[in-house]
Symmetry: C2
Subunit: 363 residues, 2 copies
């Protein structure tokens, strides 16, 4: 709960600042780091996408900013309420909670959620706290299974004793909510799609290879990324990422590893710079004898996206350039599902065991 | 495993039929019930949408049907393999598994998954087995928490001891895979959206009201529907459905209750005719004092959909006609999230307790 108190203090600090300014009859003003492309850079040494140092003042006695200043205070007040009451809520409910018609007017504090969401991001960067520390959650968005014992709300959750179903990963997995009680795994396998996760869970891959199986059913949601990051950081587990052989798979991997441009301020808490790409890589269809007719022709969108990736600073290593160019040259992309063409259990029995034994991954 | 064997027999029966026909030098033929709107009806007595008795013969010695007949046998063969090996897989992997180029030709057995999916549905209706009994799964798609003990792959999963995260509901929850070991709940609350589910889980609503909290994060997936149905059928639990006050919420409720037109053949195993709609209803915004500015203006799509619903046979009860017409007359729809305007815990502390105490639901 110490963490929570720190965040609560940051939030009430905003109110103090307004009171102090009022007492001195001065314009209250808060500094908000600029969340635009111009203020984002790839930190090669740390291996993450991060924000630069540009900030902007948000003041109250300014016609263009007065409403936004008021909105910032309303959202901070709602977030403070969450801290005091020890509750979590959603972005959407923050919007509803802070919406009202201002006295003697027909003007609403917020007209749509598009106005309140950016304010929450402003506060995240301004106060250097993750959305989750503000107690703002999304839906449960992933599943985990493996030799891992968590604590959740006083319960001891043994992720090795939940059959093939597994533990539904909450949106907020900060220490305040989810503790890592015991972890005897050797690595984390972060699987893009639920169908492969199910295959691996059914075949008890995690038992044989002593790993934690984690999926977010597509682009992994924040809770899944944070859990993988915590396992990497606190338990020193390597994280291997299993995605389709297409530009979207590469991109998902890159977000897990370096973070994203849009949410650059989160990388230092969310990114896993040591994450490895374990496939499906462009050399695999040939190496594992997949017939060409299970490949899917790259469309214009795929090709355009692949070319964009080639230009990203974090894809400049020669292995990555070769990987992406090989896909473009073949004109085909492959889904992990296509491994079923060989055998329903090819992924668990042949593909992954060989990949891991050969350390055949990209960094 | 007895069930599984029955399904395996049905599948191999198809092969026997071809062999028998070949021995008699006759055209092999299988009967497939017709899956079209003309063969679907609402059974008012049972309260479910079901299929009529029309069938079509699928024969091999027929230019228009030969390929489809061959595809049917290929898919049935792959499904038999799953039975023998006791494996589950996805629709997509069935497609990849059965795809190959035919000898001495450039012709593929299947060109896209659009060809194999309908064959699986044909086999479901033709052999009277659910997709899940064929071991065909989708992703884990929901979460459950409450006084319920399940068995999954030899593990005893106590859904009352999984913190606020919960058990990730597998796609296949047939007895063969998931057993209901113990259930002391009084009812099931099936919640449309994850955000309300999280509110209820965090506030331990399930403990105070002794219920099972189930969500599918939107239109509930088959596993969630089957689990609710099994709890209703085997444990005689009432099922209350909590959805938004909009045409999509009404529709989600109706699919849970009566089944859907597209998958009419599943209703008898998936639908829950006794399910009750617990809100958000059109009378609630006024009854619970929600300000009009948290309502959302109905758009043309909403209005068109609501008018369609008014014509469905299963929405003909006068209470439902009044419910839908009241929404249309107000010109507004309301999300459950809007209850946060009153208080972050309004749903758990005021709204649902009163609704349940007053038995204020629609049937």
């Amino acid at each position: 709960m110490a963490k929570s108190t720190a965040v609560a203090k940051k939030l009430s600090g905003l109110a103090d600042l307004v009171i102090a300014a009022a007492a001195k009859k001065r314009d209250p003003s808060i500094k908000i780091p600029v969340r635009s492309l111009s203020n984002v850079r790839f930190n090669e040494k740390k291996g993450i996408i991060e924000m630069g140092g540009n900030t902007q003042d948000r003041t109250f006695f300014n016609v263009a900013m007065a409403k936004k200043f008021m909105q910032t205070m309303l959202v901070a007040d709602a977030l403070s309420e969450l801290q005091r009451a020890e509750l979590t809520t959603s972005l959407r409910e923050i919007y509803y909670r802070t919406k009202h018609t201002m006295a003697d007017s027909h003007e609403n504090t917020f007209d749509t959620q598009d106005e309140s969401d950016p304010i929450i991001e402003d506060l995240e960067v301004g106060l250097e706290a993750l959305r989750e520390e503000f107690h703002v959650r999304a839906d449960n968005g992933g599943t985990v299974i493996g030799p891992l014992v968590l604590s959740d709300d006083g319960d001891r959750v043994d992720c090795g004793k939940l059959g093939k179903g597994g533990y539904s990963v909450p949106s907020i997995v900060e220490e305040e909510y989810v503790g890592i009680k015991k972890c005897t795994a050797d690595f984390v396998l972060l699987v893009e799609k639920g169908t492969q996760w199910n295959r691996l869970a059914e075949d008890k891959f995690w038992k044989k290879y002593n790993c934690i199986l984690l999926t977010g059913n597509g682009q992994p949601p924040r809770g899944v990324r944070r859990l993988a990051r915590r396992l990497n950081e606190e338990k020193k587990l390597p994280v291997y990422v299993l995605v389709d052989n297409d530009p979207w798979g590469y991109y998902i991997y890159s977000v897990i590893k370096q973070g994203s441009i849009n949410l650059a301020f989160e990388s230092k808490r969310m990114a896993i710079p040591q994450a490895k790409f374990v496939g499906l890589s462009s050399a695999d269809p040939e190496a594992y004898g997949l017939p060409r007719n299970v490949g899917i022709k790259l469309n214009d969108k795929d090709i355009g996206r692949a070319k964009e990736l080639l230009n990203y600073p974090w894809f400049q290593k020669k292995e990555w350039q070769a990987e992406i160019k090989k896909m473009l040259a073949s004109g085909l992309k492959y889904e992990l599902d296509a491994l079923a063409n060989k055998d329903f259990q090819y992924l668990t029995k042949k593909y992954l065991p060989k990949k891991l034994a050969d350390k055949d991954w990209l960094d």
